[in-house]
């Protein structure tokens, strides 16, 4: 039967081992936290410092012709401006200062 002293030593060793493991795990956690912190970009968001979150409330894709067809006759010149062919002849509409090219 082990003596009380032996049990005491055993517990002591186990306690030390237990503490070593704890310290080791704590070090790992601290290391991970510091790496995570170092790798996280600064919160340099503008305005209200809000994260760039958004909720999409609906999307639509519409041809410009829907609007152009509704332009009143008295604004025909405006309509014609929109309908000029582009420099590359591919786009049916363009602006004098914007010549979008196809992707």
């Amino acid at each position: 039967m082990p003596s009380l002293a032996f049990i005491g030593r055993l517990l002591h060793i186990n306690y030390l081992n237990y503490m070593k493991k704890k310290i080791y795990m704590l070090s790992i956690i601290l290391l991970m936290v510091s790496i995570t912190t170092a790798c996280t970009p600064e919160n340099d968001l503008p305005g209200n410092e809000q994260p760039p979150t958004y909720e999409n409330r609906g999307e639509i894709q519409l041809p410009m012709s829907i609007f152009l067809n509704n332009i009143p006759a008295e604004y025909a010149a405006f309509k014609n401006l929109w309908q000029m062919p582009s420099h590359n002849g591919k786009m049916p509409l363009h602006w004098s200062w914007v010549t979008p090219t196809l992707n």
């Binding site: 305005g47 209200n48 979150t53 958004y54 909720e55 609906g58 894709q61 509409l93 196809l102 992707n103």
Partner: protein, 363 residues
């Protein structure tokens, strides 16, 4: 003419984003983001925007005119850009709230937040991204112009933001940059053509600056004439069902009682709308109102870094040209370029002409 199978079009998305209300509390607001693309045999393809435009909308009083509820005119003038148009507080998702008219600081923060969220949305939706070397341009007409300059102020007083967003310049038309100069001109003329501005301004000043307006009531600012229709107009503004033309018509039909040969059909004397007390610049209530207005004076308290181009008309009776002159006088012609409207025209026509200018010449 071109390839008939390819049709240019818009991709427009309405979205919600987190921001801050007039009391500094968190609030969810709405906005739209749109960019160009084309249908190739019916299949949508995104284009790669050249720049970003943060476009501030003009004064509205009906929710149906809010960007997220319609196709605002400004959609058609910004060319190949990613354009962000925020609904102001009081419109869109927050239509139940009062609109903080001329509260520039709040609007600037809301708009920058809309830009941040809109840009994130764009990056999630358009796989092409932005063109190399893209810049941020601010734009707007009327109330949108002063809001754009408020954002300009915000960016130039937060240089790290201006750099982050590649801020280039502002291009605006007919904005009340200096509310004091605007009201001064109204008082000097003794008449106005856009009377809805008074309940809009009064409501916001009482809501936004209770510490300054403490001891006064809105009723003290108005004439007996106006008080007979005040609840009707308050309900129209709160209901967000009527546009500014409809509200101005109530003024002309029910508040305008003094008529003479010098008064045009679309004009109304201030004495028909406002109380003698507030028309006296030495009265306590008038001084308090001016103190509120000065808090929204965009010609003071900052030094712009980036250029601004301001379009105006000498015949604009809604937002007098003195506003643009005040900006030039404050910041000088190294920063400010004034551009007089090609036709001396009223406020609405001047703003429309600016849109044509922006459409045809770019930023």
């Amino acid at each position: 003419m071109g390839n008939p199978d390819i049709k240019l079009g818009f991709r427009k998305t309405a979205y919600l984003y987190p921001s801050t209300d007039v009391d500094g509390n968190p609030i969810t607001l709405s906005a739209i983001a749109f960019w160009l693309g084309y249908f190739d045999n019916g299949v949508w393809n995104d284009l790669k925007p050249d720049n970003i435009c943060l476009m501030e909308h003009y004064t509205i009083t009906s929710d149906a005119e809010a960007p997220s509820n319609t196709y605002p005119l400004e959609m058609f003038i910004t060319g190949n850009t990613l354009t962000i148009m925020p609904d102001y507080i009081g419109y869109g998702i927050t239509k139940e709230l009062p609109h903080p008219y001329l509260n520039h600081d709040v609007c600037a923060i809301n708009s920058i937040d809309a830009l941040t969220a809109g840009y994130a949305l764009f990056n999630d939706r358009n796989r092409h991204g932005m063109s190399d070397g893209w810049k941020l341009y601010l734009a707007g007409a009327s109330q949108g112009a002063s809001n754009a300059i408020a954002i300009h102020k915000y960016l130039d007083t937060h240089p790290e933001l201006a750099t982050k967003w590649n801020f280039a310049s502002s291009n605006c038309s007919s904005g009340p940059y200096n509310p004091v100069a605007t009201i001064d001109k109204y008082l000097a003329d003794g008449k106005v053509v856009y009377p809805v501005v008074f309940p809009l301004v009064m409501k916001n000043m009482f809501d936004s600056y209770p510490e300054i307006m403490d001891g006064f009531t809105e009723e003290m600012a108005y004439s007996q004439n106006y008080l007979t229709v005040k609840s009707e107009i308050d309900n129209m503004l709160a209901g967000k069902q009527h546009n500014t033309d409809a509200i101005n018509k109530v003024f002309m039909d029910k508040v305008r009682t003094t008529v003479d040969s010098t008064l045009a059909d679309n004009e109304i004397y201030l004495t028909d709308i406002l109380s003698p007390e507030i028309l006296d610049k030495e009265s306590p209530i008038c001084k308090a109102l001016y103190q509120c207005l000065e808090k929204n004076d965009l010609t003071k308290g900052w030094t712009p870094i980036h250029p601004m181009k301001l379009h105006y008309s000498s015949q604009d009776m809604v937002v007098p040209q003195e506003n643009s002159f005040a900006i030039l006088e404050a910041f000088g012609n190294n920063i400010v370029t004034l551009e007089q409207s090609s036709i001396p025209a009223d406020h609405t026509t001047t703003c429309s002409l600016w849109m044509v200018e922006l459409f045809s010449k770019g930023f």
